[in-house]
């Protein structure tokens, strides 16, 4: 039963990521076509625009929320791929906890940066 809930959350996060990263991809990679239709995007990877964004608390919130959603979707997907090898119940438990620990470590490490940069 537990895996059913994990799978349902996987579907919801999948739709969320498709929308949010879709916007991200269009803004990062379709700048020439967007400027043809009259939307001019200044290079979002330039230092100036990044410093402007990192001072706003709303952007830090967006980054951290997106990080949580993407990490869940990615690591749960990885777990599903590994569990297709049909390991024993004990190995499955070890895999699950290693993946949870890895996810928490990455989340803490990566969400520290937008929070630290707010006051720079």
């Amino acid at each position: 039963m537990r895996n059913t809930y994990l799978w349902f959350v996987q579907l919801i996060t999948g739709v969320l990521i498709a929308v949010l990263l879709g916007i991200h991809m269009v803004m990062q990679h379709l700048d020439a076509i967007l400027s043809f239709f009259g939307f001019n995007i200044n290079d979002p990877t330039s230092w100036q625009s990044m410093v402007e964004r990192s001072r706003e608390i709303i952007w830090a919130g967006i980054y951290i929320a997106l990080l949580a959603v993407v990490l869940y979707h990615a690591l749960n997907g990885l777990r599903n791929v590994i569990l297709e090898l049909a390991p024993s119940a004990q190995t499955e438990r070890i895999i699950t906890w290693v993946i949870i620990a890895f996810g928490i470590l990455v989340f803490i490490g990566a969400s520290y940066v937008p929070i630290a940069l707010l006051s720079v």
Partner: protein, 147 residues
Amino acid sequence: MRQIEPRRNYLGVGGWVWAGNYKLERYLYILHRVTGLGILFFLLLHLIMTTVFRIQGQDIWEATMKILHNPLFKIGEYLVVVAFIYHALNGLRLILQELGFLMGRPTPPIYPYKDSLRKKRPWTMAMIAIIVILALVFFYDFIQGGW
């Protein structure tokens, strides 16, 4: 009581690639998995770049961006975009089918049987067409951006 044999259908790592008489949807499934793992690998690199290199200041960031603007990384970036487009659209197809859409009404099993695959296949083809079109649009923009 009959003993259930565990691991009777165990295929191991080979089962990731080949498990029987494959049709189109099964290849899409393998590609879904490959693109998913590829995006996970990219995500880790992306996180290292936007945290470890970002927090060290302007000089380090601009040196990193200079490396990432070389054509080899640009090709990699384009592959990530295509992998994302594929994974997103195929994932939406899988979600819709899991919730019971795109496959027609259930019919009683009376001969001649109707295969729901006949209803699903045109949607699958439409999805592939959308993926190809989007990949070409993004490819145009990558060339336009001067690599």
